[in-house]
Subunit: 284 residues, 2 copies
């Protein structure tokens, strides 16, 4: 997906928020903001939004000297999600359609924003999970089931820390011998890396690889040759979250997208209302 | 008030929205966006936010060739507000404290955003007016009354079209011979100009002057010598809305601010919660 003009003010806001998250030094806040504005003024809008995000967060890391500013938050996300895991697992086991329940919970993991506050109330998590389990899906679980069954190799592109615990529930319902999960190759915002996959116990379920890249999405040119080869050889890609959607939606490849359409630009690109729970094949 | 870093993403968003309002030409949307980003990357943040707004909107007018893009909206705001005027006048006349009711309605005029949709429901307008009449005020009406009574000359800085009809209710409760209203000297967004003052019937109540400027606030260096002289000689300034607050709050002059604190930056600068109804002296 190209970068829309509406993405630009959002980048500027995110860059400021992220820099403040990393340091209290107001000179660095201003420096990053000015650099992002200048870069955005000259940006190639045919590139995807995560390409800009990759550039911005590299610069934040350079200026602050902090290689993994979100490490603490990611640990916290993982712990919070792992605490929910046993109960969620039980829900899947008791569901009339286990794959659908697990897929819906994987989308719930994309919805719950552990990052907003240090504590998220049990009521809020429960409400999000309940609505993810019952709200209408854009897309059909049977198409997903068929696509997974018919594929010989499935590549699952993970999204964030914390969320990856929810992904594990879905991975456990899939044919494990043909599924590989890909995490990011280096820290980028709160995206899951190998550390998070391990913390979530995913390598005990399926093979996990990293994509060799520090982009908040899957920019193939930025990924390792090993990952690109796995990507090319996969019969089916399962793409989780907005960053992956933005970067792989234009590729000529069978892909299922699992995400909540959180912003107007993505919702318009998908042709769905904002807030939709999406489980849709790119060929549908 | 200086421009805070948080104002910058907001400028970028507003510039894009305003350009889209003026033209459907996407090349111009992109051109304005890129110019605003570049200008913001080099901006003097010690200048006030309306100084940047003035620059942005001049450029939008240049690029689109439309001198007063908001003329239609302003007319619509005025008509909508004038339709409410008789009922609002009656509320003032029946109020136990007419000056307070009129001041609160003047703030209500600052709240009602006629611009969001072409039709604003009667229920919404009624709810806004009711809350403006009853919500706690930051500041004391008696301080306002005393300041107006004791001043020999009062300069009232108007804010937007539509809103100026609500200002008229307050002006009608003030000693008319010592009050002068100032509107903008040229079209800038939906700010009230002399045309709007006339449409609202304000010149029938008090003297109206224009400030000679096209800034969305009161930047004295950008105003006419005639206006500056009136500003300097006024014993008391009444400043309406955020744009005037941002530009005159740092001046060494007795000023009463009437506004709703709509954004976090302004609320923090005033030291009040977002959403507060403010009727406060700068010396308080």
């Amino acid at each position: 997906m190209k970068t829309f003009l509406d993405c630009v003010p959002c980048f500027v806001r995110q860059a400021l928020d992220a820099t403040r998250y990393v340091t209290d030094d107001e000179r660095i806040h201003e420096q990053v903001l000015r650099e992002v504005l200048r870069a955005a003024s000259e940006a190639d809008l045919t590139a995807t939004p995560p390409a800009m995000g990759q550039h911005i967060h590299r610069r934040i890391r350079e200026l602050t000297g902090v290689a993994d500013p979100y490490r603490g938050v990611k640990d916290q996300f993982n712990r919070a999600a792992l605490a929910l895991y046993p109960e969620l697992k039980q829900r899947v086991e008791e569901a009339p359609d286990r794959l659908e329940a697990a897929a819906r919970l994987a989308i719930a993991g994309n919805i719950i924003d552990f990052g907003v506050r240090s504590e998220i109330s049990e009521e809020e998590v429960e409400a999000t999970i309940r609505s993810a389990l019952t709200d209408p899906l854009v897309g059909a679980i049977d198409d997903f089931r068929t696509a997974v069954d018919e594929a010989e190799s499935v590549l699952y592109l993970a999204d964030n820390a914390g969320e990856i615990v929810f992904d594990r529930l879905l991975l456990e319902e899939m044919p494990k011998d043909k599924v590989v999960v890909a995490v990011k190759g280096a820290p980028i915002i709160n995206d899951a890396t190998m550390d998070d996959a391990v913390a979530a116990g995913v390598p005990d379920v399926v093979e996990v690889i990293d994509n060799g890249s520090d982009a908040p999405g899957t920019i193939l040119e930025s990924c390792s040759p090993a990952f690109r080869s796995r990507f090319e050889s996969a019969d089916l890609v399962i793409s989780k979250g907005q960053g992956n959607y933005e970067t792989v939606s234009g590729l000529d490849k069978p892909i299922f997208f699992l995400l909540k359409a959180k912003c107007q630009v993505i919702a318009d690109d998908l042709g769905v209302p904002v807030g939709s729970l999406v489980l849709r094949h790119n060929c549908a």
